[in-house]
Symmetry: C2
Subunit: 397 residues, 2 copies
């Protein structure tokens, strides 16, 4: 396994901000790190060059989606997912546990795995922990996730406990079939503190390559999300990377880094970008707003992205008003760069000891858009073909 | 007026292939030249860098569209259209004569100009030859078109004659208000040979900076289109550039170059690209076809575009199957590069004396898609909000 992690700063405790380096065969990744989401082997609307120019050092793809289409055999035969999508750097794949539960039709689950019908063509599938690893080996990714049993954010304790126990058994089976692929363990347990703690301890004892915090950012309160993050990180071995799946917004990233999280992925920068919403240090603004119609300044005066360096807010506004494809792209470039740079700013602040003041100043200045996001999630709920909670890496949201 | 044209080869006659150089303040342009269409100050889905990397030396924008939104005043206040869209090279603008007639609602025309309601918001406008020039001066383009009176391709001779006479009067008014802007004259006359010839003669006597052939590629037969092109070019001063508006497909470009045309624009590469249709020397192919699902070769083995150099046909197929925005972009990059390179190949063949054999071999190998294109035009007719003929620079087609 060509994978290692080392801290490059000394955290005050297990739930404190930290910097580190993830080493993979395809390159090193400074942590904390934001990983842009390329569900279907494409970061929506962007070329790999643009993702790299935005400063991203690692991408995420989704094994469930690529298993269904074009199929992992096809990608393996075409030389693996790096060659397929033209991204030579490190790639982490999600097993698709969340997507199986949220997108698939007629899903039934038992200890074997998940039986379901494809949301694309209705075909029948049995997706097992072993198959999820086979898919990820065929893709040739650098970091894999085991299949996990995801339950709704408001699931009662017994339900969440059964799913966590199954997730533990599946982790063992996944590791046994990993074939040398660096495989994280995923901590589940809903918002049940004792369950989260015991599950985290069980997994911590199993010496995984890294640890993912799953089942959060699925509609629970922010308070619950941070409480669970703290409970889990308190149990984690300090020398393993911690990945908070599906997070997040700028303020969530800063809050999670403050609690000792190292890795993040989220579709917000790409999904919001396609609606004209762009991140700034003052909060999100929407470039379709008429106030940008004659604004010759960039979207974000403090930004060094390829969009802000070259185009006025007025031009991006014009593109959105006319539903021009280039608009989606320019806003996406900005948003991806914004999150990558935000995490880099946090990293630098940790290294020079100024993280507490950085985080305080950032969170004081950033107008949260949480209410907007929840409204969007609620509004879209009815459009989703599957079941389960809405989350950011859910393409139907 | 910083505009000139000189031939760099000696054509056998007025209707023979020729090479030349257009000189503008923003750069020289080797002719024959294909100009990608950026109707709304964006070549759909592409950054200016990508358009330049595809080899384009001049773009087209549309004065009618930019007049309506965002408004020429806005673009002037933001530093002109070059700065607005981030393209420092030469730009030619169409006055929008064709769009006024095809898109505007409740259009009424008299010698003053065209009165109509905007297809966007229903607002009332009087678009005059003077206003069209004012718009183009505000945009700050390098080559302008006068407002012309366009009639349907099948208009009877008296209708076409009245429109051609009005176009001539409008040309005089346009030139009087050009304020130093290089302004072409547009030859109209439908498919009426004698009318085309007399209109061409009238305009040729007026020593315009260049000559556009308008009112073709609007549904008439190919035979009629080439007959009219020959009639017009026979009357054109040999030392002025000739621009066949709205053309065309690969075979149309070769056929027009054979008849002494120097300049072209067409939305085919961008519009077709968004449907998955890509040009090759054997004809158009559609990358959504299942035969590309596992094809590790590029879309077009002979192509040097940024798509074909880096991505397999299988990857582009995958993107289209999943309606990924990057797919539209990769196909567009290929198509724009294909037409720019095709015209460059024709130019080289003219210069080394091999054009007749080049054209013969190309046309023999290229499977024409004319029937497909006409079917598309017919099928879309009902969706168009305005009146008049469908043409490639009509965004509703």
């Amino acid at each position: 396994m060509t994978f290692s992690f080392r801290l490059t700063s000394t955290p005050a405790g297990p739930v404190s901000p930290r910097t580190g380096v993830l080493s993979t065969a395809r390159g090193n990744i400074a942590t904390p790190v934001f990983m842009p989401v390329g569900t279907l082997a494409t970061v929506k609307s962007l070329l790999p060059d643009e993702v790299a120019a935005a400063g991203a050092s690692i991408l995420l793809v989704n094994a469930y989606h690529l298993y269904l289409r074009p199929g992992h055999d096809t990608i393996r035969d075409l030389g693996g997912v790096h060659r397929f999508m033209g991204w030579p750097g490190p790639i982490l794949s999600d097993s698709g546990g969340f997507q199986v539960f949220s997108l698939a039709k007629l899903m039934r689950i038992d200890d074997d795995g998940a039986r379901f019908r494809s949301h694309i063509d209705g075909s029948e599938h049995l997706y097992t922990p072993e198959l999820a690893m086979e898919v990820q080996r065929a893709l040739g990714v650098d970091i894999a996730m085991p299949l996990d049993h995801v339950v709704a954010g408001d699931a009662p304790e017994p339900t969440a406990r059964a799913a966590a126990e199954r997730t533990l058994r599946w982790f063992e089976r996944s590791r046994a079939s990993a074939g040398g692929l660096a495989t994280f363990a995923i901590v589940q347990g809903g918002t049940h503190e004792a369950l989260r703690r015991s599950h985290a301890r069980e997994l911590a004892a199993r010496n995984a390559a890294g640890y993912s915090i799953g089942g959060l950012s699925v509609g629970e309160s922010k308070e619950a999300m941070w409480a669970m993050t703290e409970v889990v990180n308190a149990e984690m071995p300090v020398d393993r990377p911690r990945y908070l799946m599906g997070v997040g917004s700028p303020e969530d990233l800063v809050n999670a880094i403050a609690r000792g999280v190292d890795m993040f992925d989220c579709v917000l920068p790409t999904r919001l970008g396609r609606t004209g919403a762009v991140f700034t240090d003052l909060g999100r603004v929407n470039v379709t707003n008429a106030r940008f119609a004659r604004d010759e300044r960039p979207l974000d005066a403090g930004c060094d992205c390829a969009t802000c360096r070259r185009f006025s807010a007025a031009y991006v506004h014009h593109l959105f008003r006319n539903e021009e494809l280039l608009g989606y792209r320019l806003a996406t470039i900005h948003n991806v760069r914004y999150l990558v740079r935000l995490v880099a700013r946090a990293r630098a602040a940790i290294d020079d000891g100024s993280f507490p003041s950085f985080a305080r100043a950032f969170l004081a200045g950033y107008r949260s858009a949480n209410q907007d996001e929840r409204a969007v999630q609620r509004a879209k709920w009815g459009e989703r073909p599957g079941r389960g909670p809405a989350r950011d890496d859910d393409p139907w949201v």
